[in-house]
């Protein structure tokens, strides 16, 4: 076989692995969230379907498949149908640049665990997250329902406001590693994680990814008490499930990105080289699960932001803080006070 064909098969297998991982991860993130939040609220949670409720996601999926697919009379038919897909795609593709392991050898074939290690990896992530809002906005608009529309508008305003702080927070690890490639950033954290060197950037980044994924306390686009269900009020069946799926896949994806940028990614001080390199994905998996559990914990703890407070917090606190952090980091690196891992 020619090199090109091998490259194509290699990339296709990794892409399918990432997508299957995300979809399975989605199913069990819903289980994790429901079980864990139940524990936090002194309940038991779903425990009937299978041992410890492990088959619950499959039961839910089966139910949603048989739901009636409703199309509102005044809906923009094409966009209404496309919106769930448009929401899911960014969640599925964003992990393409994040390495989930080092060099491994499979039946004598050497390969790196990670789909594409491009030199604009961080920019790719920023680009994909910036277009992630389209699905929500279009769903809200195409439903021709005022609550859905309000949800869509809120999502837009929220995304634009928190995207800036997110970009500036990412700048800190980029400057420290002197590279925009995700594997370089992970390699730069071999000895110490950036969460310790850049705590402010890490906290800002985590807050903004909660806002970008519409997670509590930033779940205003789907605030039940005010907007019925926000942008997906009119959706049912598998179209509704797609929105649900996109939200949880985004949670997994941003957790993986946070791990790569601030928690050393698949590395754990040399431990990732065990099992012939297969320890790397396991380490990353543990970090992602920890981050997901943290998100659920936050949801169980914090009440939702009021809308004006959300805007004020984004523009008047996070943005100036992340800007100041970026400037200070840059100056300190130029003065050689903190090391740059170039």
């Amino acid at each position: 076989m020619s090199d090109f064909v091998i490259f194509l098969i290699d990339a296709a297998v990794k892409a399918v692995l990432i997508i299957v991982g995300l979809v399975l991860g989605f199913a069990y993130t819903t289980w994790l969230e429901r079980r864990f939040i139940a524990r936090l609220q002194s309940r038991v949670g779903p425990n009937r379907a299978g041992p410890a409720g492990l088959l619950q996601p499959w039961a839910d999926a089966l139910k949603l498949f048989f739901k009636e697919d409703i199309m509102p009379t005044d809906a923009d038919r094409i966009i209404y149908t496309l919106a769930p897909a448009v929401t899911s795609v960014p969640a599925l593709i964003v992990l393409g640049v994040v390495p989930f392991g080092g060099q491994i050898s499979l039946f004598g074939y050497q390969t790196t665990l990670g789909l594409a290690d491009i030199n604009v990896g961080v920019l790719y992530i920023v680009a994909v997250t910036s277009i992630a809002v389209y699905g929500v906005v279009l769903a809200g608009w195409a439903s021709s329902n005022k609550y859905a529309m309000m949800g869509g508008l809120r999502a837009t305003a929220q995304m634009i406001s928190y995207e800036l702080a997110m970009g500036l927070a990412i700048l800190a690890p980029v400057m420290m590693a002197a590279s925009m490639s995700m594997s370089d950033i992970i390699d730069a954290q071999q000895n110490i994680w950036f969460v310790f060197l850049q705590p402010i950037a890490a906290v800002i980044f985590y807050i903004t990814i909660l806002a970008e994924t519409n997670r509590s306390p930033f779940d205003l686009p789907e605030a039940e008490q005010e907007l019925v269900a926000g942008y997906h009020t009119e959706y049912s069946g598998m179209k509704f499930a797609s929105f649900f799926m996109a939200e949880y896949m985004k949670m997994i994806a941003v957790s993986a990105i946070f791990s790569a940028l601030f928690l050393g990614g698949y590395r754990f001080f040399g431990l990732e080289n065990l099992l012939g390199g297969w320890m790397g994905p396991i380490i990353l998996f543990v970090k992602i699960v920890a981050s997901l559990a943290f998100m659920v914990w936050i949801r169980a703890t914090l009440p939702r932001f009021r809308y004006d407070k959300l805007m004020a917090f984004g523009w008047k606190v996070l943005l100036p803080l992340s800007l100041a952090n970026a400037v200070v980091t840059a100056v300190l690196i130029v003065l050689d006070i903190i090391p740059s891992f170039a």
Binding site: D76, I79, I118, N119, V120, L123, Y124, V126, A127, V128, T129, S130, I131, V133, Y134, V137, L138, G140, W141, M149, G152, L153, T156, A157, M159, I160, E163, M180
Partner: protein, 201 residues
């Protein structure tokens, strides 16, 4: 044809189709979405030209920020249902004349041997090509060119953007102030203690 050419032709077709779709859609939201598709095609063209940095910036800035803001404004105003009617009808023939002129000039430049051979190629580009493609278009090389060779224009654009930003802030603040004054005036004249909020909408 190489795979690259086939890919280019497919993308070009989508780009032109989405541009035409954008011009002919009566619904403003549909027009905006066609424009987003067009921006994506352009980003993919940049990728094909070994300029990944530019491609990602194109998506982030145009598709991710500007068009999202456009959609926001269109939806907020409900402007997708407003028809412009016949007020812009005179622009059609004028646009056709201008397009024919532009197309003529482009074809003339592309196919005339005298001008074509003298087309200036930027020094940076040839240097990068001589050095090999690996670093060409990478964030580091773009940054170096931007901050060394084109530092002054870069700074001037920065100042222009800052002025525009301050302008936008000042404009909205001014509206707030006059709004408050008008409200105070209305509160003053209304005899039965009504706040005059109705006139503000």
């Amino acid at each position: 044809m190489t795979p690259g050419t086939v890919l280019f032709l497919i993308l070009a077709l989508i780009a032109v189709a989405s541009a035409i779709g954008m011009l002919t859609s009566a619904n403003a939201v549909h027009a905006a979405l066609f424009l987003v598709i067009n921006f994506f095609c352009i980003a993919l063209f940049y990728l094909g030209l070994h300029a990944p940095f530019l491609a990602m910036v194109q998506i982030t800035v145009y598709a991710g920020a500007i068009m999202v803001l456009f959609l926001f404004v269109i939806m907020l105003l409900g402007a997708e249902r407003i028809s412009l009617g016949s007020t812009l009808r005179w622009q059609g023939p004028l646009a056709i004349v201008l397009v024919v002129l532009l197309l003529g000039v482009t074809i003339f430049i592309l196919f005339s041997p005298q001008i074509g051979s003298q087309m200036p190629v930027p020094e940076v580009w040839t240097a990068a090509q001589a050095a090999g493609d690996a670093e060409f278009g990478s964030p580091a090389s773009v940054g170096l060119v931007l901050f060394e060779r084109y530092l002054l224009p870069f700074q001037m654009v920065g100042i222009l953007l800052l002025v525009a930003m301050i302008g936008a802030v000042v404009l909205t603040r001014d509206e707030l102030k006059t709004g408050r004054k008008r409200r105070e005036a209305q509160t003053a004249v209304s005899p039965d203690g009504q706040t005059g909020e109705v006139g503000e909408a």
